[in-house]
Subunit: 529 residues, 2 copies
């Protein structure tokens, strides 16, 4: 791996950290990987933040075309890394090649989607209320609104998607699209993967002749770098995907700043699946098997992993449990992302074993840090009484809640914490029950699926990967899909500003040819104001 | 004032509080006004919150037409109160009749604007990505997004706009438009005005046959009721206009809940006015007089009051100061809203007098709680060194910062805290200086005005009444204008949901005839999906 420097990246400069060393571990073998990455300190955070701040004014006013091209160049540079990237990501994450190749495709597709979003200019949310000089009793001024970037953004890479939710993942892509410089705190589980992607972004910055402060990449163990980043006055928003404890710590820091800033932390979710009676009686076995396939995806290390199944007791549920149990028993052990995640999983299932009844357990692991799929059941009454049973166990463990009737199912729904997703398995005859559950679920989750499984998050315009607390720290947004750009924008209004001073997006004649709301009516791409 | 009950309103029921009494004081005379209002306690907050929660599911799914009609009915009911409302508001606020009649017009116009916003359905931000069953390597599911109301909202009435930022003001109108039940904590400065407007909303709820929990109005002195409201688990967002200390206290409570919620607090702003050299040399006297007219509006008790003037030293600025000073000396004393606000103003100008040089002082007050206009100057170097000189003094006091050159003017701009507005007074020759200031100001404020004055906030689509902290607690939004509705909404995505379960906004055929984004392209009102 001679391509790797083991250094952090501040603008266009690779630097050595001065703090404790980070080393990736191959979770499949337990072997430590070279090179070591010395952790950054507050002084590095300060330099990267200053550089980001000095790049901000120029970067946020790049043309739509220039910014879109930059995002596309990052995608091409990532692809140009070829197998080196995939091999390193496999070694650092234990994830299989096909999965990582798919994730690379998703990551690059996401960058290109945001390029198209930038070009369309809808995100500027341009509103023009022309002056009404003769209005009585008072004239109206000329008022024009656009959205601008909030400022430099700190992004925290996630362990479970070393490409798609990491250095050039959704948070970075949407922040760059909005016009925000980005400083990434790399996840310590995959430093080499992070460095390679960091190189790709660095190359794109240079090729596109952007100010170097547009992107930096810092390594650091423990919380020093992350906390210093979020506390730095230059940073204006935070994107994070990880544990509830980690997200809450960053949120506390962000809120205690002299100037509080928004934190978009995606934290925890157990993604309830409601299997309704009609669906159970029509296809219990198929559902049981489909459920376990979803549960096992990526060793259960998906934010949208189905960690909870809710159904009414009876022969249908018995058949579901039997089929799911059989599928679990057949499940091969899978390598988890890190020794720490593996240990947390072991602790989590040990606690579930104390509080619920085990239905089946997958094949034991042979070596490294492998996750054994486990399925539990518990009566609804116990679930309703226990907060512990709602805690996310990150990995392929799930709990079936057996309800006495549909009323109890409704009670379980009402008791749920905020979630990324909820799933309904329904048949024709379940429509009435589904209709009573929907208003409850709409208040609990960001995405409701019918007759599917929650794993798999499409990158598109309508996606919501978000949801009420504690699924995320900010329920008003999504971290996946084109709407994610809005997290890093704020509105500015210009009153009676001479045409020569107005930004192009707001000028008469609509020089950018973007959709605008004129006097409350939508004007289309080719009209003139 | 026999129409007034002196009671709080929980749903359709008037109730007596059990806590300390509130009495309005006529600030023009110092006379206490009947009736007394007994303060509510936590038990009342609990009842109102439960009622709001139970109304939420039905209210948030009212048809666009039903909800718009409700907003219009509130406006009509407020108008139907006639002079009783204006007379009481005059007695409680010391504000003149014409101003309050204008404010009533604005309040009712605002409710009607939100009715039209609701009908248009743009706020639903509907996005549809149709399924792609044949896509390789994986098919795409059918994904549809709409925005839904966040839940019951707590609104805190402001002292300075007893109608437009109070019981049925912008926060309430936009929250109701979004589909959120509202619980208002009335401002203790104008309880009778609040009760009358509360009656109007109550009548509208009843006429429109909405669940009673859609609206409640609580009185309470001190912070007990407000803090209990923000802490109540049913409350999902907070709208507030008032002091920085008050807003920060609510923010702290909201953040320390088991489930943190957004707080939209509009807190403090000194609204800098940059008078550029060309403008000064062309029309210093006119500008000085115009500035003082803006400063004196509403006894200086506007959120957008021009509390800071920044200009480069010279004969132009001397002429400006001379004209402004003369206008200040001629300024009549004006009655302030409350004894407390008057006292805070006296303290504020006493502190300014210690730290800056007085230019002129208006005519002294004769009786009651009157505000004497005061104008100060200070060298930029002192302003740059002093945090105290940036503190808002609520009332008709303003400070002129004398800069040595345009570079120092730029430094002052960079040192500013977040503001609602910034104003540029420019002439043709000032364009280059303006261009260097604009990027700084865009990061500091929500609205930039050219050759106008910041007082006067148009209720329209392009308005931004918001800005970086500490102007507001959430820079991503506005509290005035149609975009204010977005504060109370969050996205929900529906995946592969049968047509029978989908909300109308997302159904094939676009039954609501609203604008939708289909596969990333904007579909217009009359098209079909």
């Amino acid at each position: 791996m001679s391509l790797l420097k083991g250094q952090s990246l501040i603008g266009q400069h690779w630097i050595d950290g001065t703090r404790q060393e980070i080393r990736a571990i191959n979770p499949a073998t337990g072997v430590m990987l070279d090179p070591p990455y010395k952790g950054c300190g507050e002084e590095d955070v300060e330099r990267a933040s200053e550089l980001a701040n000095s790049a901000f004014d120029s970067y946020r006013e790049t043309s739509l075309e220039a910014r879109a091209t930059f995002l596309e160049t990052i995608a091409s540079e990532i692809e140009a890394l070829g197998d080196v990237l995939i091999d390193r990501a496999m070694a650092e994450s234990g994830l299989p090649r096909a999965r990582l190749e798919g994730e690379r495709g998703r990551t690059c597709g996401q960058l290109r989607l945001f390029a198209s979003v930038v070009r369309s200019g809808e995100w500027l949310d341009v509103r023009i209320d022309p002056s009404l000089p003769d209005r009585q009793p008072l004239p109206r001024a000329d008022l024009r609104q656009r959205h601008i970037a909030v400022g430099p953004v700190a992004v925290f890479g996630a362990s479970n998607f070393p490409l798609a939710f990491s250095v050039a993942g959704g948070d970075t892509a949407s922040a760059l699209a909005a016009g925000c410089p980005v400083i990434v705190k790399a996840h310590s589980a995959h430093p080499g993967t992070s460095e390679l992607v960091g190189q790709a972004v660095q190359n794109a910055v240079s090729q596109c002749q952007l100010p170097e402060g547009v992107f930096s990449l810092l390594f650091g163990s423990g919380r020093e770098v992350g906390q210093a980043l979020v506390a730095n006055p230059a940073i204006q928003a935070v994107g994070f995907t990880g544990s509830r404890a980690g997200g809450m710590a960053l949120l506390a820091t962000a809120q205690s700043r002299a100037q509080p800033i928004p934190v978009y932390a995606e934290m925890s979710s157990i993604n309830p699946v409601f299997v309704l009676p009609g669906a159970l009686s029509a296809r219990a076995r198929v559902l049981g098997e489909g459920f376990v396939a979803s549960l096992n995806m990526g060793a259960g290390q998906f934010c949208t992993n189905p960690g909870l199944v809710i159904a009414v007791k009876g022969s249908g549920l018995d058949a579901f449990i039997e089929a799911a149990g059989a599928a679990v028993s057949e499940s091969c052990a899978q390598t988890m992302l890190t020794p720490g995640i593996h240990q947390a999983y072991e602790n989590g299932i040990s606690q579930l074993s104390d509080n619920a009844q085990e239905v089946a357990r997958g094949k034991p692991g042979k070596e490294g840090y492998q996750c054994q799929t486990v399925l539990y059941t518990t009566p609804a009454i116990d679930f309703l009484r226990s907060k512990a049973l709602q805690e996310e166990v990150f990995g392929a463990a799930s709990l079936i809640i057996e309800c006495n009737d549909e009323h109890e199912m409704q009670q379980v729904a009402k008791r749920l914490e905020g979630q990324l997703t909820a799933t309904l398995q329904v048949d024709e005859e379940d429509m009435e029950v589904a209709r009573t559950l929907l208003p409850v679920l709409e208040q609990k989750v960001g995405r409701i699926l019918v007759n599917g499984w929650p794993t798999g998050v499409e990158v598109c315009h309508a996606m919501v990967h978000g949801g009420p607390f504690p699924a995320t720290s900010d329920t008003r947004t999504t971290s996946v899909g084109s709407a994610a750009i809005h997290r890093f924008l704020r509105p500015v209004c210009y009153q009676d500003m001479p045409m020569a001073l107005l930004p192009d997006a707001l000028k008469d004649g609509n020089p950018l040819k973007i959709a605008r709301l004129v006097d409350g009516k939508r004007e289309h791409d080719n009209d003139n104001a």
